[in-house]
Symmetry: C2
Subunit: 306 residues, 2 copies
Amino acid sequence: MKYFSRMLAVTILGNNSAVPAFDRHPTSQVVTLDGQNFLVDCGEGTQIQMINYKIRRGKISHIFISHLHGDHYYGLVGLINSFSLLNHQQELHVFGPSPLQEIIEIQLKVADTRLCYPLHFHTISGEATLVDNEKIEIKCFPTEHRIECYGFSFREKRKPRKLIIEAIKENFIPLSFYENLRMGEDFVTSAGEVIKNEWVTEEAPRGRVYAYCADTRYTETIIPYIQGADMIYHESTYLDTLRDRATERFHTTAKQAGEIAQKAGVKKLLLGHFSSKYDTLEEFEVEAREVFPNSELALEGVTYKV
Amino acid sequence: MKYFSRMLAVTILGNNSAVPAFDRHPTSQVVTLDGQNFLVDCGEGTQIQMINYKIRRGKISHIFISHLHGDHYYGLVGLINSFSLLNHQQELHVFGPSPLQEIIEIQLKVADTRLCYPLHFHTISGEATLVDNEKIEIKCFPTEHRIECYGFSFREKRKPRKLIIEAIKENFIPLSFYENLRMGEDFVTSAGEVIKNEWVTEEAPRGRVYAYCADTRYTETIIPYIQGADMIYHESTYLDTLRDRATERFHTTAKQAGEIAQKAGVKKLLLGHFSSKYDTLEEFEVEAREVFPNSELALEGVTYKV
């Protein structure tokens, strides 16, 4: 975790679907960027997986729940509760479909639990921007599942422009204006001469993008939301021999996940949400790579740099 | 599990309080008797602990929830859901305080889950008999906790009377009447002579009793319900140096648990529900044994024969 903490990265806590099996756990992952931790889905046992993989629970400020199938959120109420018992201080924002708030609140109420930190629920629907701060923009987008379900995209904000020190010195721009230059402003000399920003700075590299495509049937409707992403996580509950079952149950095969990655022009594909039918996973990677070579299994406890 | 399966026994799945820590899990245990499995409490991750300790999930027909603090039931909805995904067939009976049913049902409903087996909720209150069949009698009794909370006692039914074969032969009682003798009936000869049951049979050993005392402040009001039990599980959240804190938070110390065991004249005490303040547990056993020598830590994965 520490190694990648300044860069956009994702750590897998659970990569299995439906029921825990073969030491694989229900869905959860942590997206990290420069000291901010965002939890995506929270299947049963997520808080134990966090302990196992030394995720700093106190750093989690936002939790995103894709949909209300239990393997994606049954660990949420326990985590919310434990945060309070562990004296969590910062605000916690939980995003998810209705009636997530009601489900959590009734459980806190019957236990007579008073949280020691502010908890805010945000009901998501359609396509929306959920977080937009100086470092990151997080959006949700609908997927095609048996019940209302959302994917999430994480876009690093473009960093401030880079100063070209030589050019700045040639133009006698004072140190006090450097921050304005980074923000893209032109400089005007005392003689009224305009020093164009692009003469003395250069563009920062564009921010990286990670998209979590949640549970979904094969659908190209998600492509606009993930187009060109540096990395996506796409479910691959089944191998392509069970393509009909996948469609029927609103899930995707590894091959189909590769097709989506290829059509969306992303750089890398992580595969997850494996059915408990499969005790080994190698075949998922083989199958996806036939369509999209830069495919990889999302393994629990592993951090993937975006 | 197999070794003890015909006798009353309990296997500990979780022995920690509040939050998971030090590889200890929230409360859950399985009481087994002759092929019947009864689950007592179901903290988050119980289904994973069942896999770890090879508990036959399909054999669970009854689940008893002591109270609605999350560390005692957050794993229930996941287990109910997994039973269906794993094609559980037999009826499942869940006993717990209100509004447990409402909490579970809303979660099944939003996921559009249709269980493949019959699920029956039974709201418990006061002191009551919950199960009474030819093998076992299970009762609940109130404890003294911050919210409504129940302990459970498991009493093996007295087995059928033992035949004294010699006496039976002397009285020429036919084989076809042996079952009636076992059930305590007298035999009447064709000449109208009454052969008293107690002349030809002897009493079976009394059934064993196990009591789970749930979460509770030190209270002697539970003694009538556990008096003379072969084994009890009593919480010992704290050591006696924190007796005031224990009382304030409606919990018990190891020493107090020993006092209850001693006053109730039970044969053996299992200690559990340890606070996450403590990374090692030896001291709990030492402290309880000063008052009640036959005290033992309830360790996860261990089966204790009653």
